[in-house]
Amino acid sequence: MSTPKSPNPSPPQPNPGGFLTPPAAPVTVHAVVNGKPVEYMAGLRETLMDLLRREGWAGVKNGCETGECGACAVLMDGVPKASCLILAAQAEGRTITTIEGLGTFEALHPVQQAFVDATAIQCGFCTPAMVLVAAALLKENPHPTEADVRQAFDGVLCRCTGYVKPVEAVLACAARRPAESGGTPERQVP
């Protein structure tokens, strides 16, 4: 590939290919999605976000396609990631959790319940991502500070709540858990 010739620092690069693009062979993806082994047929160019949504996991939202809004957040092997920046093919052999895998109407995940109790949901578009990210945070850090919670939310853009109630919800959820016996929790880094 030729290197960019523009003298400007990092101008937005157009994605080459234009409107008519050549076809590409699909790929088969074997993964565990929300606890169940699946075999999905995916387009080679499809992102994990597109694949999951097409397979019915509509809790994964398309907000920007560039990894900046966080609405597409999923847990990949337990780690929160932007699924719009992952090719569907990369999910081979991985464990994926979407909001649908975290809790059900009959049995809400504690973070979901906390969001409901704190009225932390307005339009709800960012809520699946916020809940997933908060659940992942509480798993590795059961007693986060407010700063920890705000940092966890730094990748999920919310235009409605100002983050006030969502942060309260996560802290309330953490407070309701039984106290740890002592020592700092082991942080698992991806």
Binding site: T3, P4, S10, R45, E92, Q151, P190
Partner: protein
């Protein structure tokens, strides 16, 4: 974002296989974290070479030398005890405030260097640590980071794959600092700056100053460094060095900030970084 020309996805089990594809296919690109490749691909990408099976994800320390695998994520850099200890944690800090947790969990140090965005956050701290980039696929084994970038999103890499980044922990009495200015503290840097000073016998024995975001690619300010080395550090000398850093290269303007604003930020951030580095080295200013 869709790679519209993608025809082939490879996930090789060995570095040799990855390199073979990289060399044979001129429209192939390495896929590490995907946080740059899937947003602003550097050109037509018809083949992606997913390197997730190649390991390259360890951080080790031995005898003052720290080796960071190319696939180590920003998240890992932000939290690993080795990087938190290294040079007042400036590399960990730079990684910790990059974009968002979601991006940091995928983005890699190798990708940050290979993508070579002018505003990348990891080059400045790595430059002041005299980092070397280890590569595979060509005749050379190591490239000094100082010689690595050649232009906007351009590097000396020629169908090679970064395997590790190597830095030496500063010896003696030292202090380092990293500062960044963006619209928010985790947004893309308008300008970032790193500084490192080593003090011996009351004077600055070694100084390193690096700036990103303001120029076509992250680089050291040799003029600032020369003004500091061999002298006792005072507030006035730091002022002078910051001014020299500002004058090292003309700042660039774009849709995020004007050239004038970036030039101003260079001076301010270098000054802050030098002050914090000096204080951390025990210098009373």
């Amino acid at each position: 974002m869709e790679l519209k020309l993608l025809q082939s996805y490879r996930c090789p089990a060995s570095l040799d296989d990855a390199l073979r594809t990289l060399k044979q296919d001129p429209d192939s690109a390495v896929l590490a974290g995907g946080t740059d490749l899937l947003v602003t691909p550097p050109g037509p990408v018809r083949t992606v070479i997913d390197i997730s099976r190649l390991g390259l994800d360890q951080i080790t320390e031995a005898g003052g030398e720290i080796r960071i695998g190319a696939r180590v994520t920003m998240s890992r850099l932000a939290h690993d005890p080795i990087t938190l200890r290294l040079a007042n944690g400036i590399l960990a800090q730079a990684a910790a405030f990059c974009m968002s947790e979601l991006v940091r969990n995928a983005a890699t140090v190798g990708g940050n260097l290979a993508n070579a965005a002018a505003e990348a956050d990891l080059p400045a701290p790595l430059l002041v640590l005299d980092a070397e980039v280890l590569v595979a696929g060509g005749s050379r084994k190591a490239i000094v980071l100082d010689d690595f970038f050649t232009g906007p999103r351009a590097t000396v890499l020629n169908r090679e794959i970064i395997t590790e980044v190597v830095v030496q922990a500063p010896s003696g009495t030292s202090g380092a600092s990293f500062h960044k200015m963006g619209r928010t503290d985790s947004d893309i840097a308008l300008v970032n700056a790193a500084a490192l000073v080593v003090i011996a016998g009351g004077t600055c024995r070694k100084a390193r100053v690096a700036v990103g975001g303001a120029w076509p690619f992250p680089a050291r300010s040799r003029r600032a460094e020369k003004a500091l080395e061999g002298h006792a550090l005072t507030a006035e000398l730091l002022d002078a060095a910051a001014l020299l850093a500002q004058r090292e290269q003309p700042a660039l303007g774009d849709f995020r900030a004007s050239a004038e604003y970036r030039a101003g930020l260079v001076r301010v951030l270098v000054r802050r970084a030098l002050e914090e580095a000096a204080r951390r080295a025990g210098v009373a200013l």
